[in-house]
Amino acid sequence: MIEVENLVRRFGPAVAVDGISFRVDDGEIYGLLGPNGSGKSTTMKILAGILPPTSGRVVVGGVDVSQKPLRVKEITGYVPETPALYESLTPVEFFNFVGSVRRIPEEKLQERVDALVRAFGIEEYLGEMIGSLSFGTRQKVSLISAMLHDPEVLILDESMNGLDPKSARILRELLMDFREEGKSIVFSTHVLALAEMICDRIGVIYNGRLIAEGTVEQLKELAHEESLEDVFLKLTESRDEVLGIVQALKEAL
């Protein structure tokens, strides 16, 4: 379970996250939607124990991130927007490194890597340096390494980026399975159809604030809109702006 209460994160005078509160239950997939720079990635880094909050309370799996960030990292699997990997290592070496740092027993590590590598189809790249792999393959390595220790909580920041349709489908199915197992999952994406498909509840962040929250149906009702895209554009005050920009572009081009 994840509990976020009045979370604030400042970078100098800039406020990236401005007092947001939400809760993700066990066995729930929570979607964080918002335009670029709205504070999603900052929120997710705080949930993963990477970035300390300026104020507010964040509890992940019963652990306060401000007090025990290392413990939070132990129970969390985090996939950043851009894969953060050692480019001079091969996936084999990286998985062994992550397994060692996370103190995963050898047998379990072997089992999980074999299964995940097969699922994402990266067998032929295991001996190559990560730096030489395509973005999509690196994203798969990043996803696998985040799942090696069977985390209680998964934090996926636009993790579908760069994945081929088959792998995207496999990830979707995996997330559904994790939900069945009672794991809490926070998931951010710009693909609204995907969010609509897999998220139990959605929070919309805009300018660092959580401006709406609920199931897809609740959000549609709230905004009096038919599609999640229209809900999103309306809530983030972007619809008129989008129409204006498109019109201006048509005239300019």
Binding site: R71, Y86, M129
Partner: protein, 486 residues
């Protein structure tokens, strides 16, 4: 051009600071550090001021030489400084700057030779070494005014030569291409190539030393026929031939520079490549986190020749002197001196060790790695080369007399002391994982600090004996290792 270099310089320092979560998480500290290090003029002024102190010492020696020709020979010795600095910073830092991705925004732009910006960026790092040479060059005014002008020209040529050769090293050995059947062999070849390349300066240094010792007999030959830098610098007492030689150097270096710049840019544009796909089965091998971090660092260092050279570079500062000391017959005093020197030079390795993670440091932040495990792994990496060298020297000495085996504890503990002091220096008030800014001023200060610690040990060793020195080593090590284990 100036604006792009200014932006790249700031960007490079910005990314280095961003890699440091301790600084990046504190906006005030971040702004302050960026203002201090990201500004070209300010950054260079601080470093140049430090180097100028050495310059004044060298200037005093040149002034006091008493004889113009002897002063010129002395200046020629010092002229190794801008040359080696330029070679080292260009060869090592170029890979670092490129790997941080600061040239990525230039790639899609219609820039013909963007490498000139890399060249200018790296040349800036050489400014302090050139500034250090100003006092000894000016001191030549005591003997001849044209020698001052020519001296400045030769210092510039020395830095330029080092820079051009550094670019050649980067082009030949700095490839980020990975994988393939012969990748390990290529890495080894690159490293051996770089090390042999650097060894050349020691050959030059040896000849220089020889010339100094046989100054009277060799002076006519030295001044008339010296073609190789830095001996050529001594020709400044004969303005015409010196000027002609300098022009020949420039005539070769300038086209070579432009040729290499083109190649470097093509290399940067091409980026990394995969030579061939190899199917490898995964076999789980789990180690203690410290060992896993240590192995990770070793693998990265072994695959990035620039980092490996950085790690081995302290040895190259020490080994020629050590070999010349030992070549005159092995005595306990000489072994002691050599061990102290190897341990002292180990301080320089901190820069390469802390740069190992580079921009991939984010990968570590998502993992439950404690600062203690991180520091112990870095300590192991940092100690590895100096400890192996020290033990090698002791074993070599033991071949002549087994009593030297008693020096094994010192061979282990001395590098451990300087390495742990180095890490404590950068991490004494850190509480979370971070990569500190290891500028030349910090490394210089660190070497002075380690010099004091080793000086105390050496004093006890000379005056009281080996065993009390070992006890002192233990006494010094305990609190420092405790600090790292918090």
């Amino acid at each position: 051009m100036r604006e792009i270099v200014r932006v790249l310089y700031r960007e490079l320092h910005y990314r280095r600071l961003k890699n440091n979560p301790q600084i990046a998480a504190d906006p005030k500290k971040f702004e302050e550090q960026l203002r201090r290090t990201g500004d070209v003029k300010r950054g260079l002024a601080v470093q140049s001021a430090i180097f100028l102190l050495f310059g004044l010492m060298m200037g005093a020696a040149v002034w006091g030489a008493g004889d113009g020709e002897k002063a010129a020979v002395l200046l020629a010795t010092y002229a190794l400084l801008p040359f080696v600095m330029a070679l080292y910073t260009t060869a090592v830092n170029s890979s670092y700057a490129v790997s941080m991705g600061i040239f990525e925004p230039l790639k899609p732009l219609p820039v013909k030779t963007g490498a000139k910006y890399l060249s200018a960026l790296l040349a800036l790092d050489n400014v302090p070494a050139v500034v250090a040479m100003i006092p000894p060059v000016i001191a030549m005014a005591r003997y001849s005014l044209p020698a001052v002008v020519l001296g400045l020209l030769w210092v510039f040529i020395g830095a330029f030569l080092g820079h051009v050769l550094g670019l050649a090293v980067f082009t030949l050995f700095g490839s980020s291409g990975v994988g393939g059947r012969f990748s390990k062999l290529r890495t080894l070849a690159r490293v051996i190539g770089v090390l042999l390349f650097i060894s050349l300066f020691y050959a030059l240094n040896y000849v220089q030393k020889y010339v100094n010792e046989h100054y009277e007999q060799l002076l006519p030959f030295f001044s008339r026929y010296s073609l190789a830098y830095p001996f050529s610098v001594a020709s400044i007492v004969e303005p015409l031939s010196s000027l002609l030689l300098a022009l020949v150097y420039l005539a070769v270096l300038v086209p070579a520079y432009y040729l290499l710049l083109g190649r470097v840019w093509k290399f940067i544009e091409a980026g990394s490549f995969t030579s061939s796909a190899r199917r490898v089965a995964f076999r789980a091998r789990v180690h203690h986190p410290v060992v896993a971090l240590f192995l990770k660092d070793l693998r990265i260092i072994a695959r990035k020749s620039a980092l490996l050279v950085g790690l081995l570079f302290p040895l190259f500062l020490v080994l020629p002197t050590a070999l010349s000391v030992l070549s005159g017959g092995i005595t306990p005093e000489k072994i002691e001196f050599t061990l102290l020197m190897v341990a002292w030079a180990a301080s320089v390795g901190v820069d390469a060790v802390l740069k190992t993670d580079g921009r991939d440091f984010d990968a570590l932040l998502a993992l439950p790695v404690t600062l203690r495990d991180f520091l112990w792994s870095k300590l192991l990496v940092m100690c590895l080369v100096p400890v192996l060298t020290s033990i090698g020297i002791v074993l070599l000495a033991a071949f002549y007399s087994p009593t030297f085996l008693a020096f094994i504890p010192a061979a282990l503990m001395l590098p451990l002391l300087t390495s742990s002091i180095s890490l404590s220096f950068f991490y004494h008030d850190e509480e979370v994982l971070s990569i500190p800014d290891t500028g030349s001023a910090e490394v210089l200060l660190l070497m002075i600090l380690n010099g004091f610690a080793l000086g105390a040990v050496a004093l006890v060793w000379y005056l009281v004996g080996y065993l009390p020195a070992l006890v002192l080593l233990g006494v010094l090590l305990v609190p420092i290792l405790w600090l790292l284990s918090r």
